[in-house]
Symmetry: C3
């Protein structure tokens, strides 16, 4: 089974995502299309990069990850195909692969110039006319180098970096998930290494409390700080939405400090 | 083809559902992931139980139904795997399997204790770290008993029961579907057995009228009571939304009576 | 691989779409269900017809396209199965196949009368009880003529026609997509043939400007008229929503004229 896993901001109702899946089915009938998500916020490159980083590495080697969140479609941004630790990635060179690249061991990338459709690509739908054919080609066992010339400098998002010092970690909210949970850029290992100390979390001006194990360590409706499943500090409300309770979103400041008792 | 059918409240945009599908693909490459739904309302165990009961039995024997609506994740609620009439079910022991259990002939269940990932489960994402590996194991032909010890008392939701007497049936709305149709707990067989009598339906204080055959038995925009495709009384508005027209939702009282003419 | 591609307005949370996929899996275990979309606006036959026309022809011959947007379910509208240029289409005869029929070379159609489930169809869920079994039958290699008698006059939507003359094209908005882009019924070839002339686009009373190549030909937040990837004139806002900026939707008038300079 050769899997092509799709991630876009196209929604599904308009048939754009299905057109990509159809192109893949026609190009490589044995490929299996899996739909990771099509409801990334329109144009949200960081949101797509985060989502991709949560699932890409769980798929087996040979999987083709097709990512089209592409506000610059038709401009001179490069169409990219890459191989990272045995998995393939296809999509616009706009930073959407930043986080999987950061984590990768071995990688190589090319700018897609030859896709073999024999038709001109529509300037507003490279997902269908360039990226899906390239994904189908890779799912059929095609070589990366057959798609175009090597790229050594794929675009990287400049993500906000947390500030770590002896007494505290200061970072910010990177993403709000479906549950209204705030995902921060404060690394879990900083917290895990200090788990014996009395850590206190603050979001903006609001005290959240210590870092807990799971949601049910607090009462229903209460704020809770957690070392999230993705390896970063998260702030949630049990059975509720922290983003609403705190009126905070992407970019909001978060601090963890070793309490001076 | 071994199918794993996923039902969660994770949404898709955050990549959580795709992480589960990736774990399944890695564990059992021949398995085919089908996505039933990821947009169950967050934490809505009854909603998930109802959805599952509408489709689980249509899938062929051997299908693995993976259900993760799990507000108690990381607490001491048990992770469950079960076999019901030849189909497998994996998910939290919080009542989400109540309705398929009620309908089942032969069943057995175990508490998942061994999943073979060789890593510690994140306390906030058992979907990825416990339930998906268990589903992959069953999709690969693994035996239920290999996952953990027998459970004889899976959690059952205590659903509101309709009251039936000679002259009427009294129940309530269990669910509002995408069309705004109200699905009640009044059983269709009670109505079918009295189809020769002049039945009248009332929702709250509002007269809906007789039990009809289908939507087009009334005019556009009008209320209609139906014996629904799921085997229960439903109240709809043709080309509209009964939930909005009646300002009613889960728990609203519904009555069917044999009209005293 | 025999693909059945589903398009409905059922949403997913209620389990209706999964019930259809389950019926297909049970009827033809080797079939692969792909979900094009389940979030067509409830009862929006034109929206479904447009979505289908964007992806159906990209799938390989033998694909079964199952479309259930069916506000007339249970009435006397015919259940339809058709073969168009080697692909199958199954769904209600309510116009949802209008656009793929318009484009088709060879086609034949039948009214579904025999589906072999051995149960009576629920009058409100033909998707599960008639259309999904028919799709499973075709995915298993069944012959179209085995489903019922020939239909020579499938229902066609009467779409608004653009008016073309020497100096201008006048049409209207057919659809608003996920990005808030307005898709019109003004054909791209009319524009392409006059690309050397100074074309000007107007939506309602608002001047949009010339027909451009892609979004990035204008600044962020600005209106742009494009020859869309579907072959029709579109009006968008770069990094924004034209439907909101113009407060326009389906039916709004659009004009392209050769500027008298």
């Amino acid at each position: 089974v050769r899997r092509v896993v799709l991630l876009t901001d196209f929604g599904t109702a308009d048939g754009y995502a299905a057109a990509m899946a159809g192109v893949i089915a026609q190009g490589t009938p044995a490929a299996v299309a899996e739909h990771a998500a099509h409801d990334v916020a329109p144009g949200d490159i960081l949101g797509a990069a985060l989502a991709l980083s949560r699932y890409a590495h769980y798929y087996p080697a040979g999987t083709v990850h097709l990512v089209v969140v592409d506000p610059g479609v038709g401009s001179d941004r490069r169409p990219l195909a890459a191989s990272l630790d045995g998995r393939y990635f296809v999509g616009p060179d706009n930073g959407v692969f930043s986080l999987v690249l950061e984590r990768a061991g071995e990688w190589e990338a090319v700018a897609i110039e030859r896709v073999g459709l024999g038709e001109e690509a529509a300037p507003t739908f490279h997902g269908r006319d360039i990226f899906a054919p390239a994904a189908a080609y890779l799912a059929a066992g095609g070589r990366l180098s057959g798609l175009g010339p090597t790229v050594s400098d794929p675009v990287r998002l400049s993500l906000p970096r947390p500030r770590l010092d002896a007494g505290s970690a200061t970072g910010e909210v990177l993403h709000v998930d479906r549950f209204g949970t705030l995902l921060t850029n404060i690394p879990g290992h900083w917290i895990a290494e200090r788990a014996a100390s009395p850590l206190r979390v603050r979001a903006g001006e609001i005290e959240v409390g210590p870092v807990r194990h799971t949601f049910s360590d607090v009462g229903s409706g209460e704020l809770v700080a957690l070392l999230g499943s993705l390896g970063w500090l998260e702030i949630a409300v049990r059975d509720g939405r922290a983003a609403d309770a705190l009126a905070m979103g992407r970019g909001a400041p978060v601090e963890v400090r070793i309490r001076s008792s």
